[in-house]
């Protein structure tokens, strides 16, 4: 069990020494992840963990990669992607050049899902997808574009439910127990590190996806990040969130309109 005061001091020292700020993350999940890290590395107390990572940067890197990795899959919530095709794609098609930001892309499954969708809709050639995450290791996996073959059954089902137009196997090559996503999908993807809690807006986008990332933040940080998304969207740009996330309780709510209430797709209106 981790005491509250001790936890706050730990996060403050991590912020002070390394500049990573977790003080505005939802506590219960961070504590679970830190506890899991301590268990698997046989670290008895938060104090011991602090001593270890504050003086050894390699240990800190290991720690940070472990506690910031998010789990994702191809076409998680297929109906979300189906709604994108139906409600968003035709409007994006009116732009000569399209910029998409996938914030918190983790190991990249969502990025490749979008690249495939954009190719099928004839938009990929004139699109750049900026895929960012706080976690370097996850980004490297995303760049490598490799997945386990055991996932393919679920992914194929998801792809079809999401309105996929071809055969899902057109988009990967299988070798032994792995599959590699078609390299041509990657041509217009830029992977880079971005920390939503600390970094600023870096471009203007027609579409932002940030799914199941805000749930890990407290309300104050959620507001800051939604402001960041607002600043990063062009007028009438779109943003898609996770199934249980919303913009409707944020300070910027009046600047957005719901495009699909159930699938959490919004448009910036002013």
């Amino acid at each position: 069990m981790i005491a509250n005061e001790e936890y706050r001091q730990f996060l403050e020292s991590v912020r002070f020494v390394y500049g990573y700020d977790f003080t505005e993350y939802a506590e219960a999940s961070v504590i679970r992840r830190i506890s899991a890290f301590m268990d698997s590395n046989k670290i008895a107390s938060l104090q011991d963990l602090g001593k270890m990572i504050l003086k050894d940067e390699t240990e800190f890197e290991h720690f940070i990669q472990e506690i910031t990795v998010n789990v994702t899959e191809m076409y998680r919530d297929p109906l979300f992607y189906k709604s994108l095709r139906k409600n968003v794609v035709s409007r994006l098609a009116t732009y000569p050049f399209i910029k998409v930001w996938i914030a918190g892309c983790s190991t990249g499954e969502e990025v490749y899902s979008m690249a495939i969708l954009f190719r099928e809709e004839g938009l990929l050639e004139r699109t750049v997808i900026y895929a960012t995450d706080i976690n370097q290791d996850a980004l490297q996996k995303a760049r490598d574009g490799i997945s386990s073959i055991s996932n393919m059954k679920t992914y194929t089902e998801n792809y079809l439910k999401a309105g996929g137009k071809n055969s899902f196997s057109d988009y990967y090559k299988a070798k032994y127990n792995s599959v590699m996503w078609d390299k041509s999908l990657r041509q217009n993807i830029v992977f880079s590190v971005h920390n939503l809690a600390m970094d600023r807006s870096f471009n203007e986008f027609q579409l932002i996806l940030c799914r199941n990332v805000l749930i890990y933040f407290n309300q104050s940080l959620q507001n800051k990040v939604i402001n960041l998304f607002y600043e990063s969207l062009c007028p009438f740009g779109f943003i898609g969130l996770g199934n249980k996330e919303s913009l409707l309780f944020s300070e910027k709510q009046k600047y957005f309109e719901e495009v699909d209430r159930k699938e959490k797709i919004f448009m910036r209106t002013k």
Binding site: M1, N4, A26, E27, A28, S29, I31, R32, R33, N70, V71, T72, N212, I215, Y216, Q219, G242, N243, K244, E245, F249
Partner: protein
């Protein structure tokens, strides 16, 4: 320890296969103004979004709703973990959600709810494990009992799937084994305190 005289700030329930039917039997006994929040993880398909809540609301007087992230937990309400998310309790008495990897092959996982609830409510927590065909919830039961909370398992002869209550009982940290009706009565009795 006389469990009947304890006061609870929250009740957590874990159920898996066969759970819906038992849940109806228990929750329909409760009045609309039931004074303690009830928070439930029922293992469910991720393709089903709100059907569980709709079915239960038709049968029950208490308010049934799916837990939203950051929502403050209120009495008189039964909250269900949404499909495909873990449900966690924060120190300020609100919910948070996570998409972390499944625990015991389950998302939502009963252990995740129970363990975080134990940290927040400590001895003022009542936990109930119902029917199910896996072992989810056992670690949570252990933690809740260790921190002074009360733990109940559904009696095996009344469970369609025994494995889950059995696994909880096997930890040695289940304090009461009761039939669904007795569990309902226990909940009604907590209102007298």
């Amino acid at each position: 320890m006389n469990h009947d005289l304890k006061k609870y700030d929250a009740i957590v329930i874990g159920a898996s296969a066969g759970g819906l039917y038992i849940m109806i039997r228990i929750l329909k006994l409760l009045p609309a103004n039931f004074g303690i929040p009830i928070i439930v993880v029922q293992h469910r398909s991720k393709d089903e979004r709100t059907l569980l809540e709709e079915v239960l609301q038709q049968k029950c007087k208490v308010t049934i709703k799916q837990a939203d992230e950051k929502e403050m937990i209120q009495p008189g309400t039964v909250y269900f973990a949404p499909p495909d998310y873990h449900l966690l309790i924060e120190n300020d008495g609100s919910f948070s959600l996570s998409c972390d990897a499944p625990v015991n092959y389950s998302r939502p996982s009963i252990d995740v709810l129970f363990e975080t609830a134990a940290e927040v409510y400590k001895e003022r927590l009542l936990a109930i494990i119902l029917t199910g065909a896996n072992k989810d919830g056992s670690n949570g039961i252990k933690k809740i009992a260790t921190m002074g909370g009360t733990t109940i398992a559904q009696s095996l002869e009344t469970a369609d799937y025994r494995e889950m209550p059995q696994a909880a009982i096997n930890t040695g940290f289940v304090q009461l084994v009761l039939t669904p009706e007795a569990i309902g009565q226990f909940l009604l009795d907590t209102m007298k305190n």
